[in-house]
């Protein structure tokens, strides 16, 4: 069972590295969105810092929604999803491997780039730290919730639009707690409470989302 989990993970990572240029797209998008904000609000450093947490998080939400689009698409097109259902391992576990690989490929680089974005917006070291921690806890939730929605919408005519329509409202709690945490850090206040909330959401998502995704794949492939 473990070997199948690791095998799926390895396969997905390998496939992703073969398409390196595609990998970079969501990241470039992330940076471009962040650079748009100062142009929209003026290069007033104080104002930008005030808005920075929200800006970076909204950019992260949009970028992760974009990157999710490809999560199951190739598997859907070449029929690998059928193989997944027929595999001897529980489908939820295999799905978890796919989600983990998606997070490793998209989440981790996003966190690294967000440090850069923090420098771009001249945030303090504490704020950048808080930002990284919230992204570290929050982006797996985005991948987990996204997996359900992608499994439901993959292969439909307007899948991309549907995906963001369904997904963005579900992201609301993560956005709220993360942005408040970063804002607290910027103001020099403690933000452990928010991190606990985020961690709670992550645990809940980690237990339920793979099962829901597996159910969604079964519905789509039946």
């Amino acid at each position: 069972m473990t070997s199948l989990f690791l095998g799926t993970l390895q396969r997905d990572l390998k496939l992703a590295f073969r398409r390196r240029s595609e990998l970079a797209n969501p990241l470039v998008f992330f940076v471009v969105v962040i650079t748009l904000f100062p142009f929209a609000f003026g290069a007033n450093a104080e104002l930008i810092q005030l808005l920075s947490a929200g800006m970076i998080w909204i950019a992260a939400l949009l970028a992760s929604t974009l990157s999710l689009d490809g999560m199951f698409r190739s598997d859907y097109e070449d029929g690998c999803l059928d193989d997944l259902i027929l595999a001897s391992s529980p489908l939820g576990l295999l799905v978890l491997a796919k989600i983990l690989s998606h997070w490793l490929i998209n989440g981790i680089p996003l966190i690294i780039v967000s440090v850069l974005a923090g420098l771009l917006l001249s945030l303090s070291a504490d704020t950048v730290l808080a930002l990284c921690v919230t992204l570290l806890i929050g982006t797996p939730v985005l991948s987990l919730l996204g997996a359900i929605t992608v499994a439901l919408t993959v292969g439909l005519r307007n899948a991309g639009m549907l995906l963001s329509l369904i997904l963005l409202p579900l992201y609301m709690p993560v956005l709220i707690f993360s942005v408040v945490a970063v804002d607290n850090a910027r103001a020099g206040l403690p933000y452990t409470a928010e991190l606990y909330f985020l961690a709670g959401i992550l645990v809940l998502a980690l237990t339920l989302c793979p099962l829901a995704t597996a159910a969604a794949i079964r519905v789509r492939m039946s």
Partner: protein, 251 residues
């Protein structure tokens, strides 16, 4: 009990019963709504703080209750359809969504119309209104997803999963929005929460609520009936039904 469930799960039986349900629910709905409107608009005294504007609660509060109740109906029915693959439940879940969305819309619109004289603004980022808005987005997402499928059954079952995901998410969303709200605006006493409500104000509210419930079930049956005809277009009972329609009741 089991036999009854089994019977109700048969599309033909459901179709036959739905006429009676929608008719009687419609009758009860009209009676209760008229009584509730009379009680709410005429008999109930004006609120000592809010004047006559409080009369909006007689449609705002039942709409808000219904918006959540309908979502539960959708999710429970969807869950049943996922587990036991009962067609009738698929049909009920997908027929409930537009009704739930319209109740949510009503709760938002009347909340806004109430908020204008009370808060002085059409929209305030009040926790309840914001949650209601997100609920509307969830309904719209569900409807978009279900209608995106060519195959009705796959669409309904995909929607059922989404509705269940939503049920787990709604409390979290509501809690996070409430938490965010107290943080940003201070503990504002919302005009929507009235700790002790006078009996003469409460009774019309309950009457209206029963009226809303009956309305929902009545229209739900009409919608579900139409859907089930489409689902079962090739079944023999539908053919018999249509062939005999000259003799039977005219629709």
């Amino acid at each position: 009990m089991y036999k009854w469930i089994h019977q109700f799960g048969s599309p033909k039986y459901f179709y036959d019963v739905s006429f009676r349900v929608s008719f009687w629910c419609g009758v009860v709905c009209v009676i209760f709504l008229l009584a509730g409107l009379y009680g709410g608009l005429v008999l109930a005294p004006a609120d000592y703080q809010q004047g006559d504007s409080f009369r909006i609660i007689y449609i705002h509060v039942p709409s808000a209750w219904m918006s959540m109740f309908v979502y539960m109906v959708m999710a429970v029915s969807g869950g049943i359809s996922l587990i036991w693959r009962i067609k009738v439940n698929e049909v009920i879940a997908r027929s409930a969504a537009p009704l739930g969305a319209s109740f949510t819309f009503l709760a938002l619109a009347t909340g806004s119309l109430w908020g204008k004289p009370m808060w002085g603004a059409w929209w305030v980022w009040d926790a309840r209104l914001t949650s209601e808005l997100i609920l509307l987005f969830l309904y719209l997402g569900y409807m978009a997803l279900v209608s995106a499928f060519e195959d009705r059954r796959t669409g309904a079952r995909a929607g059922a999963i989404l509705a269940l995901v939503g049920v787990v998410n709604i409390p979290i969303i509501h809690y996070s929005v409430e938490w965010w709200n107290t943080l940003h605006q201070g503990p504002t006493v919302t005009k929507f929460s009235s700790p002790s409500i006078h009996t003469s104000m409460l009774i019309p509210l309950l009457l209206m609520w029963i009226g809303f419930m009956c309305y929902f079930f009545s229209v739900l049956m009409i919608r579900a009936r139409a859907e089930i005809l489409e689902y079962e277009a090739n079944a023999s009972w539908v053919r018999d039904l249509v062939n005999q329609s000259a003799k039977r009741r005219s629709i």
